[in-house]
Symmetry: C2
Subunit: 466 residues, 2 copies
Amino acid sequence: MTYTPIKNVLHEKIAIDTQVTIRGWVRSRRDSKAGISFLCIYDGSCFDSIQSIIPNNLNNYKNEILKLTTGCSVEVTGKIVKSPSQGQKIELAVITLKVIGWIENAQTYPISKTRHSIEYLREVAHLRPRTNIIGAITRIRHCLSQSIHRFYHEQGYFWVSTPLITTVDTEGSGEMFRVSTLDITNLPRTKQGKINYNEDFFGKETFLTVSGQLNAEAYACALSKVYTFGPTFRAENSNTSRHLAEFWMVEPEVAFAGLQDISKLSETMLKYVFKAVLEENYDDLSFLTQNINKKIIPRLEKMLESNFLHVSYTDAIQILLASEKKFEFDVKWGIDMSSEHERYLVEEYFKAPVIVENYPKKVKAFYMRLNDDAQTVASMDVLMPGIGEIIGGSQREERLEILDARMMEMAIEPNKMNWYRDLRRYGTVPHAGFGLGFERLVSYVTGMSNLRDVIPFPRTPGSANF
Amino acid sequence: MTYTPIKNVLHEKIAIDTQVTIRGWVRSRRDSKAGISFLCIYDGSCFDSIQSIIPNNLNNYKNEILKLTTGCSVEVTGKIVKSPSQGQKIELAVITLKVIGWIENAQTYPISKTRHSIEYLREVAHLRPRTNIIGAITRIRHCLSQSIHRFYHEQGYFWVSTPLITTVDTEGSGEMFRVSTLDITNLPRTKQGKINYNEDFFGKETFLTVSGQLNAEAYACALSKVYTFGPTFRAENSNTSRHLAEFWMVEPEVAFAGLQDISKLSETMLKYVFKAVLEENYDDLSFLTQNINKKIIPRLEKMLESNFLHVSYTDAIQILLASEKKFEFDVKWGIDMSSEHERYLVEEYFKAPVIVENYPKKVKAFYMRLNDDAQTVASMDVLMPGIGEIIGGSQREERLEILDARMMEMAIEPNKMNWYRDLRRYGTVPHAGFGLGFERLVSYVTGMSNLRDVIPFPRTPGSANF
């Protein structure tokens, strides 16, 4: 691989007059009347393509170069020169150009040079990374994932991989995918006529996980600070722009920590990754700010300087009740806030990121720590303008007897969770953590309102293509 | 979280005489005749525990401190002092000690201070991270994953997440887990009596992926250099120490690259991560070298200085035929080498890591690039002493007509793979990549011979506990 990434050429890491060889794909071709061709070539290493000036005295000028279309792959050797054109500092004075791969039929190439709708691009998800927009999103997604790993590493956390195939329904919602190797056309039966899961691969009924949290708790109660970063699944039949059946989640879990510790952690982490993406992907962000949403860069910059606001669930309900806004769903203490309520709080009332704390126990999961009022739990949701809930977390119930009582209230058999209860029987510690929906983060940063556009190959009800 | 990680205290980042508060769990307690107690406390931040010297004039000395057992959680405030004992530079002169969590019954605590067998620890996978050995493995696993992300980032690769739920059987082995939300007790049927997958969640039959490669290729053919790092699944009913049903894989995919490029990449990457783990986790490696396998540190150090050897499959078969070794499986050109053959090559013949190249097409997958001899494909396996195959890769077939012919030879319907074929129809480029079994890497580095011990909660035939 003795070729040079276009990023290195454009970012002036190489001296003028140096001869380089680049490889990439044609973004566009223009031929001047003077008999010179201009090719814009990209290789994905950065947002911009490099302008290549091709004199008409090249051997293959007529036979090949004049036939190049968007998407053709080429190898180009040339000299780095200062560009006389506006909008670019550097261009390539081409010495040789070799065509590597042609476009079968430029007329029917699914992502020709013309602008395509984002909905259309989903139908060609295997080719859409070749577009400016999906290229930019991919590089930003990479930066976000790298900076999350870097953040936790620097803060002394250990990455742990929690299992994807599980028997546990962490959130108790029952919206799980079954995982099985049973012959579905000839299911084994017990004597009683029930399906015999003893004969399934794992010897019992198994599903895809909805969260790595419970397993991460076991590791936090030994290594103090851990985080997961892996896929999770929801078999929820909701075909909205805010849901995916398969998505990535980041779940830090911290021993000796309470609700305020992880609220602070969520703010520190988000600011860390926003700063990283502003530093490392400004060109990609600029393109999206110009083409998708003018607020993208300004709101990231503003976020770095603002402090997240904290409000209790009870106060938030008061604010909603006092508003003159007509909501679709009625507001009263005890409801699970819906997205219209959350958006009112962050977008109209506070106009800032808000951490809502201490929700009623009835709308939250069994593992959240019961507050002294016996009605609320030490939980928190981070709400962001323009996107709503991005993070949900809690302090975990570390007192065995209260945990058992909460399980029974919610019809969970404590003895089916003995391993989880063991963490409270042996050297229990206060601990807390949260889950960040990674695609929601990418969506916020890129301004792409549909999660289908911020993950390479989205899985949604009725769709598992490619 | 105003407490201090034990790592910071022990690694002399804090001045002698400073007062600190640490939190962690009791590894062991010893009481001297002089009325002083010695507590070893760990918090997982590093291998070593800190020795804490407790005078008998503390208020809770008799009532609590003398009752502490292995696994209790504590908060300790004390002064950092130089240790007079051998084997440690620093200890903690305790001022106050608060017990946070007791052990329900020290006699029945599953991981009391005595040494436990590694097989037994698998039965208490939720508590085993509290042991020295699994703690060390967890920190090393973390370092390996971090350094892999860092390596690819520094080399200009972008992390892409490829889908877990898929309709494609990349390796053509048929060993896949079905993913479904159909009501298994009342399966919907078509008029012909077949199972009606139109009614399943994704509207068709879906499975858990065995590899992200095909999807990664689509991104490499747009961004030049990408890698995946995510879970993959094999529903292979082989209950061996070398297989997991759910494991993590790292798959770089590089445009404009050939077999030698990715062979070189595999060597550079492995050396990068070995160097990182020697630098960052020497204490964990030392413990494993003393207790598990004396070769762990020496072989990593040796690896950094050695060059990986390259041998063609054809030459490797000649070597095996010329050996006087009696193999269980007969050797002849065309076989898929079994592990006894691989081990002979690396452990007895070459005594070094070996990259075997250009396997017969009949033992490899449809997507590997056909060599000019029309009998072999541009494939490579990296074999390591003590572990066998750790990496498998290939140059991909970028020529549409040959790809189609290979698919038909292997009874794959080309038109079912139209999206994959599109990558060859539109601006095709030579490209190549490999897959690294992450748990095999952790196994090699830690010297743990069973993969069940290098992943937190292993999934194997008959077992999906916790």
